[in-house]
Subunit: 219 residues, 2 copies
């Protein structure tokens, strides 16, 4: 099916042009934009909940929620009083830049410091699409196994920060924290790797400090 390669190049080319346009707009508006990725159920929305609790009084945040169907995650975000826009991909496996361009029509960028885009739960396809973000964060649940970075390398190669989540149940899971960290740093030497428990809120200080620093860096 050689046709898929040409088509993919064409789709990616169009996507990248819109992504670049978005990145310029976000820069002009001094908004830090983060693409938050990871498998289904790795803890992205729980991380967002804890992040909003900690930052929403100091930092003007908004969230874009990407889902195939349902607004379950957007409903969770909405409870915190943070503006949230739901994108339903109708079965599509990732967000792309044109979807973000449409979503931000509903967000006042002039008042914003931080826009977090929670991508579709998928360790493969979202990594291939630039959506105009400045940085990417990946959440890997330790219940997924420590072989995942090497099996899904692109996701980890392009991340600025990786959170190894659900450490509260580490002793029940056969997961080598040091080994996984080493694999991630082999793929991506400059990346930060943080063991955390989003449900308990453990280990999140370096994550929150990093986000604050990123927000400062675009002012």
């Amino acid at each position: 099916m050689a046709v898929t390669i040409d088509v993919k190049a064409d789709i990616l080319g169009k996507n990248d042009a819109v992504a670049e346009e978005l990145r310029n707009l976000f820069k002009e508006k001094h908004v830090f934009v983060l693409d938050l990725m990871g498998s289904p159920g790795c803890g992205k929305t729980t991380l967002l909940e804890k992040t909003m609790q900690a930052l929403k009084d100091d930092i003007n945040m908004a969230v874009i929620e990407g889902d195939l169907f349902t607004s379950k995650d957007a409903d969770r975000i909405d409870r915190y009083g943070v503006p949230v826009v739901q994108i339903n991909t109708a079965g599509g496996c990732h967000l792309d830049a044109p979807m973000i361009k449409k979503a931000i029509e509903n967000i006042d960028l002039d008042k914003l410091d931080l826009l977090v885009i929670e991508n579709v739960g998928n360790l493969v396809c979202p990594a291939e699409f630039d959506i105009g973000e400045q940085k990417r964060a990946v959440v890997l649940s330790i219940t997924e196994g420590d072989d995942k970075p090497m099996k899904y390398p692109l996701m980890f190669k392009l991340a600025s920060i990786v959170l190894l989540n659900k450490t509260d149940i580490l002793k029940f899971c056969n997961f080598n924290l040091d080994g996984a960290t080493e694999d991630i740093k082999t793929l991506n030497p400059g990346v930060e790797v943080l063991p955390v428990s989003c449900s308990l809120g453990d280990g999140l200080k370096p994550w929150l400090d990093w986000l604050r620093e990123m927000v400062r860096s675009v002012k």
Copy 2:
């Protein structure tokens, strides 16, 4: 990006023709072919290990392993003395029928009762591609959360059997077994849903009985 829709229809059309050709071949050879799907780290390979231990003396099995990169899973299967063919998709997010057509050149179908195809770890894209299988099985780890069936419905709609895995750590996870089972049966009334712990081998008897019955049904 309306172009993607037309292209997708074209790709799926070509894929389906090859899948139908494969399904006819498998029927003629009396081989039961199962497409095994689920998120990264949900326990597909561990389920396969337990299945081989239980069945390999009675049933002639072979396995096709789909991965983006690495042969980590195929190496695990190889230890059990079951023939295994590795497909590396080089970053591709799912297996397709032409990949299976090429892989079975390395498998002697005349001697085979059961071929299990472990798809790429992904709760989205593999569901869209017919690979010539007779049935589909989905593994959902309870660590992924009980909202996943409704968020990723296609995967569950097209399955004949769903295994809710990692019940050994159920008490540490906020997962409603009855609610998730009800959601899956709402999407797909005829499906079997089995709570299991693949690592402990708990609850696997109905799964093994189902596989034996499926193998008998194609003889």
